[in-house]
């Protein structure tokens, strides 16, 4: 395995590290995207672990910093992040294509990186798959406040169900607390009756569902991994879970990890996420 620091992009100001395998297999290349404003090593250095694990399996891996994050210079133009982030991933693919001969790519995102991965996949056919860790596939600023409140209520209710069902003090707090009691009761009832989704699907989520159908029609493969107890998982359950189930696409795999936070901070959880992603990667069609 070999690692090298690179500078790429139109102005040569995007900084990344390429991990090259000892012997190239026929796997696609992987690109790890920034999680929020954390630089290319990833929260808890997860991206470094992930890159090296994938390279062990024979993949070429690039982890880089979007402009203005980590060691990459800020952009000189006024392109909004939603557009510049996608453009920069495409420049990363251009570099890997020109210098390493890669033609197919898997994008790996955590939290906000999942949105960039998804958007790029929708725009660029070179992306054959994506690993979406605690995914939110819409700009959170566009999600209605009523939906956000719904997500919070569900998160609270679920955590009470899971953790505090037999704790009398917690039940007392529950009824005194500030969360919407009605919504919490509805969620609890829904849990019993099996009804979970909000109808109709908010427009943004409906569009994402359509895009997921299109991506899988084209044969792209998607791995979702969610941490139990996170707001993004509640949002997923509220919106995409049912449409995805109805799609019945073999190409969409969803896994859940419990007892961890949105960054998979616990050491064994980090190891588990890396294992899940590596195994999924290894079985991608050549």
């Amino acid at each position: 395995m070999h690692e090298e620091a690179i500078a790429f992009g139109k102005t040569g100001s995007l900084i990344g590290v390429v991990t090259s395998p000892a012997s190239s297999g026929r796997l696609p290349a992987a690109i790890l995207l920034n999680a929020g404003i954390v630089h290319r090593v990833g929260p808890n250095r997860l991206h470094v672990r992930m890159a090296r694990a994938l390279a062990e399996r024979g993949a070429t891996v690039l982890r880089f910093d979007h402009s203005g994050i980590g060691d990459s210079a800020p952009r000189a133009d006024a392109l909004p992040f939603g557009k510049s982030s996608v453009a920069e991933v495409r420049e990363a693919m251009d570099w890997l294509s020109a210098r390493k001969g890669c033609t197919r790519f898997v994008l790996i995102g955590l939290c906000s990186g999942t949105l960039t991965a998804f958007r790029t996949a929708c725009e660029d056919n070179r992306v054959v798959g994506a690993v979406l860790l605690n995914a939110l596939l819409e700009d959170p600023a566009t999600i209605g406040e009523n939906v956000v409140a719904e997500v919070v209520s569900r998160k609270v209710a679920r955590s009470y169900l899971r953790d505090k069902a037999w704790d009398r003090q917690s039940w007392a707090k529950f009824f005194r607390g500030a969360a919407s009691y009605r919504r919490i009761l509805e969620v609890l009832l829904a849990r019993v009756t099996g009804w979970l989704a909000v109808r109709p699907l908010p427009a943004g989520a409906a569009e994402v569902a359509r895009q997921l159908a299109r991506l899988t029609d084209q044969g792209r493969e998607l791995l979702f991994v969610y941490s139990e107890g996170t707001g993004v998982l509640e949002y997923f359950r509220l919106t995409l879970a049912r449409p995805i189930r109805r799609l019945r696409r073999r190409q969409i795999m969803i896994q859940f990890l419990s007892g961890t936070d949105h960054n998979f901070t616990g050491l064994r959880h980090q190891a588990r996420v890396v294992q899940i992603a590596s195994d999924w990667f290894s079985q991608l069609a050549p």
Partner: protein, 227 residues
Amino acid sequence: MLLCYPMGHEYIACHRALRQLAVRLAQAGFPALRFDFYGSGDSAGQPEEGSIDGWLRDVTHAILELRARHGRAEVRLAGLRLGATLALLHGAQTDARAMVLWNPVVSGRAYLEELIAMQKQRFPDEPATPALEAFQGILGFPLSHTLRAELEQIDLLQTRERPARHVLIVESGQEGGGSALERHLRELGVDVHYRFLDAPAIWRELPDQVVVPTAVIQLVVSWMKQV
């Protein structure tokens, strides 16, 4: 200038701030090298393979690299948190002209207590590490028993050699023995200055709330210019 990062989860939170410091130092005429210690950041190795001795050797390599690239004999060091501790411990070997210690870890024991307390506070449901495991998870990073034992031995108030001729100790947002270190270094014959700034203790921030304390950066750069 050689910049030494903190370790573990603190590295993630501080990355942006040290980059900004490097940029400002370079703009002020001081070429600055930031590097990742073995087992951290982009460098080779796993975190549990890191050791104080190994990291002190890394500082030596980094100084050689800096000299090779810029041909200047004089190297000054700046470190943040454990990076500052390592800079000081290394300093005795180089007798640098100037050194900046930003919230240095003065007592390894106190540092460990702080880390363990923060781990328990943020992850109360995480089970305690069984005694036979080689390392424990501290806020996402493995802390090996070896490193833990080395850290327990660190007490900068017991050092006997002058780390540099001129030292600036900056503590931002949190006092951690910086004043006591100032007195100790003065006794060793160092021209030492201590400043406390009401600025964020950035290494305590969660990774998604990365902050750059410009007041500290300005202070470091202006002090460097006049030393």
